[in-house]
C-alpha cells in the first residue's frame, strides 16, 4: 500500500483525505481531481467536498450514509480520480496599487529582503500566483508561487483589522484578503476589485487552479476598479 492518500476521520460528520505533506501544484491537482471525482459520483449522504493544499475534507450526514460505505465510495473515487483532469483555471489580472497607505508593509518587506521597494513590487507583480484553494473566512484565496527571494516572516503582532482587497505575503505564501479581517501577513498593496459578495452566486470569483497577477497601477486607476467584478479583469 502506498503511504498516500490516507483517509482520517475529522469528527463524526467529516473525513479528511490527505495527500503527500507539502505544498506543490501537482499534489494540489490530485486533490482537485479527487474532489471532482466525488462530485461527479453524486454520492447520497455526502454534503460538501472541500479541496485544500494537500488535503480534501468531505462532510457527510451519518443518517444518510453508513461510515464503512462512505470509506468504500471514497476509495472507489480515488481510483476514478486517476483519470480525471481538473479543468484549466482562468487568469485574472487585478489592478493593484502598491505602497503608501495601501501597502503599509512595503518598506519593511524591502528592508528584510534587501531590495528597493520598486524591486519588491516588480518581482511580486510579475508573479503569476496560483490559487490553491479558497478558505479561512469569506473567500480568502490561498496563493502559491511566491518567489523564494520574497520570503519574509509573519508580523510578530497581527493587525486587528486589515481592509478587504489587501495583497500581502508571509512565510513563503501570498494572499489577497476578500473582506476586512485581522491578519499577520505583510501587506504591500491593495486591489479595489470586488473579491467577495454574499448577494451573488458564486460569492467568490476565484476557484482552485485559477491564476492571479497583481498588476501595478496608479492609485487613481486602482480606485476606478472599486466594486467591479474580478471577472471583468480576465
Amino acid at each position: 500500500m502506498p503511504e498516500w492518500p490516507k483517509i482520517r476521520p475529522s469528527g463524526d460528520c467529516a473525513v479528511l483525505v490527505e495527500f503527500e505533506n507539502r505544498i506543490d501544484p501537482q499534489i494540489n491537482r490530485s486533490v482537485r481531481s479527487l474532489a471532482l471525482a466525488i462530485e461527479i459520483e453524486r454520492i447520497p449522504g455526502i454534503q460538501e467536498v472541500l479541496p485544500a493544499y494537500r488535503a480534501l475534507m468531505i462532510t457527510y450526514v451519518p443518517f444518510e450514509i453508513e461510515y464503512q460505505l462512505l470509506l468504500e465510495k471514497i476509495e472507489f473515487c480515488m481510483e476514478r480520480a486517476r483519470t480525471i483532469d481538473p479543468p484549466p483555471g482562468r487568469f485574472f489580472r487585478l489592478p493593484t496599487v502598491y505602497g503608501s497607505a495601501h501597502g503599509p508593509d512595503l518598506q519593511r518587506v524591502s528592508e528584510i529582503v534587501h531590495l528597493s521597494p520598486e524591486g519588491v513590487i516588480r518581482i511580486f507583480s510579475e508573479t503569476r500566483f496560483m490559487v490553491y484553494f479558497i478558505g479561512f473566512i469569506c473567500g480568502l484565496a490561498y496563493l502559491g508561487g511566491l518567489p523564494e527571494i520574497l520570503r519574509v516572516p509573519r508580523l510578530a503582532t497581527p493587525r486587528t483589522l486589515v481592509p478587504g482587497g489587501s495583497v500581502g505575503l508571509a512565510g513563503g505564501q501570498a494572499n489577497a484578503i476578500a473582506t476586512d479581517q485581522p491578519s499577520g501577513f505583510n501587506y504591500i498593496g491593495r486591489t479595489f476589485v470586488s473579491l467577495y459578495n454574499p448577494h451573488v452566486l458564486p460569492p467568490v470569483p476565484f476557484a482552485a487552479g485559477d491564476e492571479i497577477q497583481f498588476v501595478p497601477v496608479s492609485e487613481e486607476e486602482a480606485l476606478r476598479a472599486r466594486g467591479q467584478r474580478a471577472e471583468d479583469f480576465l
Binding site: R8, P9, S10, G11, D12, C13, A14, L16, N21, R22, I23, Q47, E48, V49, L50, P51, A52, Y53, R54, A55, L56, M57, T59, P62, F63, Y67, F133, I134, G135, F136, I137, C138, G139, L140, Y142, A178, T179, Q181, Y196, P198, H199, L201, P202, P203, V204
Partner: protein
C-alpha cells in the same frame, strides 16, 4: 407583519435558521442556530417548521416590544424571561398582545435562549439562509429601535402547546464532552494526549459563536503546532503553539494551519452552546460508531418531542 421593536438589543442577539451548508468551499462557515434541539423545539411549539428563523439570545438584557398579537415560545438556556415584568413560562407557546414587553433579565442556567415566533422571522436571506454572520457581511446583531418582522401574518388559532418537563433538556454546569481523537493526534506526545483527556479545562472569556478558548494544563506537541492549512470540521479542537486548546464552533473559519487533537461529537454540540465562560469541561474519547449512535439517540429525543407536540393539536 411587524412583530417586535427592539427596545434594548441585549449582549448578543441574532436571527438564525439552520444555516447555509454548501458554501464552505468559498470560505463561508455553515453558521445556524447553536443549540439545535432548543431552537427546533421552540419552532414546533409555535407551529413553525423546525428550521424557521428564530432569535438566538446570548446572555441577558434583551427587551422587545410586541407590535402585534403574536404567538411565541422561549426555549434553551434560562435567562429569566419576563412579559410585562411577570415570569414568562419557558418551553411552551405563549400569546402576546400588542404592547406587551418581553425581557430577559438575568442568567439562571445555560447561555443561549431562543425566541420562536409563529410565522418565523423574515429577515433578509444571504445565500439561502437567514443566519446572521457579521464577519461575512450577512446581517447584523440586533440594534435598538430595529423592527423584526414575521413571514406570515396569519395567527393560527390552535391550542397553546407545551413540551412536557421530562423532555426539557437541562444544562449542567459541569460535564464531559465526548470527542473523536484526530485528525492530528499523532502530532501530540503520549503525555500530551493524556493531559488533554485527564485534565479540566475552563472556558475563557474569549468565547463566542466562532469558538471558545480554553484555559488549563498545556498540551505537549511532538513536532510543533503548525500544519499546512486544511479544512476544519465543526467542533474541532485546535491546539496552537501555546498548547492551549481552542474549540471551533458554528461561525469558525473553514480552514486553518494548527494541529487538531480531537473533535467534539455532533451530539454534544447543543450542550456546548449552553456553556458559559468560567464553566469547566472535560474530554472523553469515543469511537466514530459511538458518536453516530449518540447522534441517533439525539434524533430520537427530538422526534419524541415532535410527536408529543404534534399530538397536542
Amino acid at each position: 407583519m411587524k412583530a417586535f421593536e427592539v427596545v434594548h438589543p441585549g449582549v448578543h442577539s441574532t436571527v438564525h435558521d439552520l444555516g447555509r451548508p454548501g458554501f464552505m468551499k468559498y470560505g463561508i462557515p455553515v453558521s445556524g442556530v447553536a443549540d439545535q434541539f432548543s431552537s427546533r423545539a421552540g419552532n414546533l411549539l409555535v407551529g413553525n417548521t423546525p428550521g424557521a428563523a428564530i432569535l438566538e439570545i446570548a446572555l441577558f438584557r434583551l427587551e422587545l416590544l410586541a407590535l402585534n398579537e403574536l404567538v411565541i415560545a422561549v426555549t434553551g438556556g434560562n435567562l429569566s424571561p419576563t412579559v410585562n415584568g411577570n415570569p414568562l413560562p419557558m418551553w411552551q407557546a405563549f400569546s402576546l398582545k400588542k404592547g406587551d414587553r418581553v425581557a430577559f433579565r438575568t442568567r439562571k442556567q445555560g447561555l443561549r435562549a431562543y425566541l420562536a415566533v409563529q410565522g418565523g422571522f423574515s429577515s433578509q436571506k444571504f445565500l439561502g439562509s437567514r443566519s446572521v454572520f457579521v464577519r461575512g457581511l450577512m446581517g447584523n446583531v440586533l440594534k435598538a429601535g430595529e423592527v423584526l418582522e414575521t413571514e406570515s401574518s396569519v395567527i393560527k388559532s390552535s391550542p397553546l402547546k407545551k413540551l412536557p418537563r421530562e423532555l426539557i433538556p437541562n444544562f449542567p454546569a459541569k460535564n464531559s464532552l465526548r470527542v473523536i481523537l484526530g485528525p492530528q493526534e499523532d502530532r501530540f506526545s503520549q503525555k500530551g494526549i493524556e493531559t488533554f483527556l485527564s485534565s479540566e479545562y475552563r472556558v475563557s472569556p474569549q468565547a463566542d459563536r466562532m469558538g471558545y478558548r480554553l484555559h488549563g494544563p498545556t498540551i505537549e506537541h511532538l513536532r510543533g503546532a503548525d500544519i499546512i492549512s486544511e479544512p476544519i470540521a465543526r467542533g474541532a479542537i485546535q491546539v496552537p503553539g501555546d498548547g492551549l486548546p481552542i474549540l471551533l464552533l458554528w461561525d469558525a473559519p473553514v480552514s486553518g494551519g494548527y494541529t487538531k487533537i480531537a473533535n467534539v461529537i455532533s451530539a454534544d454540540l447543543d450542550w456546548v452552546a449552553q456553556v458559559m465562560p468560567g464553566d469547566s469541561l472535560r474530554f472523553k474519547a469515543v469511537t466514530i460508531q459511538e458518536a453516530h449512535q449518540a447522534l441517533q439517540e439525539e434524533r430520537a429525543r427530538f422526534e419524541q418531542a415532535q410527536r408529543v407536540i404534534e399530538e397536542q393539536g
